[in-house]
Symmetry: C2
Subunit: 126 residues, 2 copies
């Protein structure tokens, strides 16, 4: 029995996690974890997620090297969502922006709020 | 046709939203929205959510007066999660803490990281 048994996973045994840059406090992304990926994250000190599209665990940055070092893992009052404070190596988004939340909804349009720092080609075609 | 048609809602027609304090950058909570609650939020300028436990739309603070004024609404690269920057009136959590993420997972324990600012009795028994 571990404390993770108190978490409320959804019907797919997943829990959403908000990833926040520990230095800038930017919200970088939202991902999903199952119990195994939480255990891997805690034991290795780097973020692991459950990929809903590929149905497998992945270590953030395993291909792109844009890893996320865990600083602190928090749980909310309902115990059904997580917040991870991380040290982001490079950029969080596969499109090359620091944060995945690079568009603002404004006047019925998506307006870019961040520049691309590293091109996707650089991130994935090494 | 509005831009909200491009959002990817889940099987329950919901999308998760991260709520971040626009001043302190604290992550306050995670909630869920349907299209109607997003429209209400945009048109009224205050956060409205879908309550999964009560199966209804609610305005944050409708009982407690701890409202959240929308500053900016962002969407992520996959268009399946939202980030709302808000001006929080008082506290976000029904337990009386500023943020719902008031516990840290540490050494297989939940460790409180915030004090209660306003008692739940004060928030709900006016």
């Amino acid at each position: 029995m571990t404390i993770l048994d108190e978490l409320k996973f959804d019907k797919n045994d997943l829990i959403p996690v908000v990833i926040q840059d520990n230095n800038t406090k930017d919200v970088l992304m939202v991902a999903w974890m199952n119990k195994e990926s939480i255990n891997l994250t805690i034991s290795n000190g780097y973020m692991y997620y459950w990929s809903r599209s590929r149905s497998k665990i992945w270590k953030k940055g395993e291909t792109s090297n844009q890893t996320q070092k865990l600083v602190e893992l928090r749980i909310d009052c309902d115990k059904d969502s997580l917040l991870a404070l991380v040290e982001q190596n490079g950029v969080a988004c596969h499109t090359g922006t620091k944060s995945c939340f690079f568009e603002t909804i404004q006047n019925n349009k998506f307006v870019r709020n961040q520049d691309i720092i590293t091109s996707p080609e650089t991130l994935y075609n090494k």
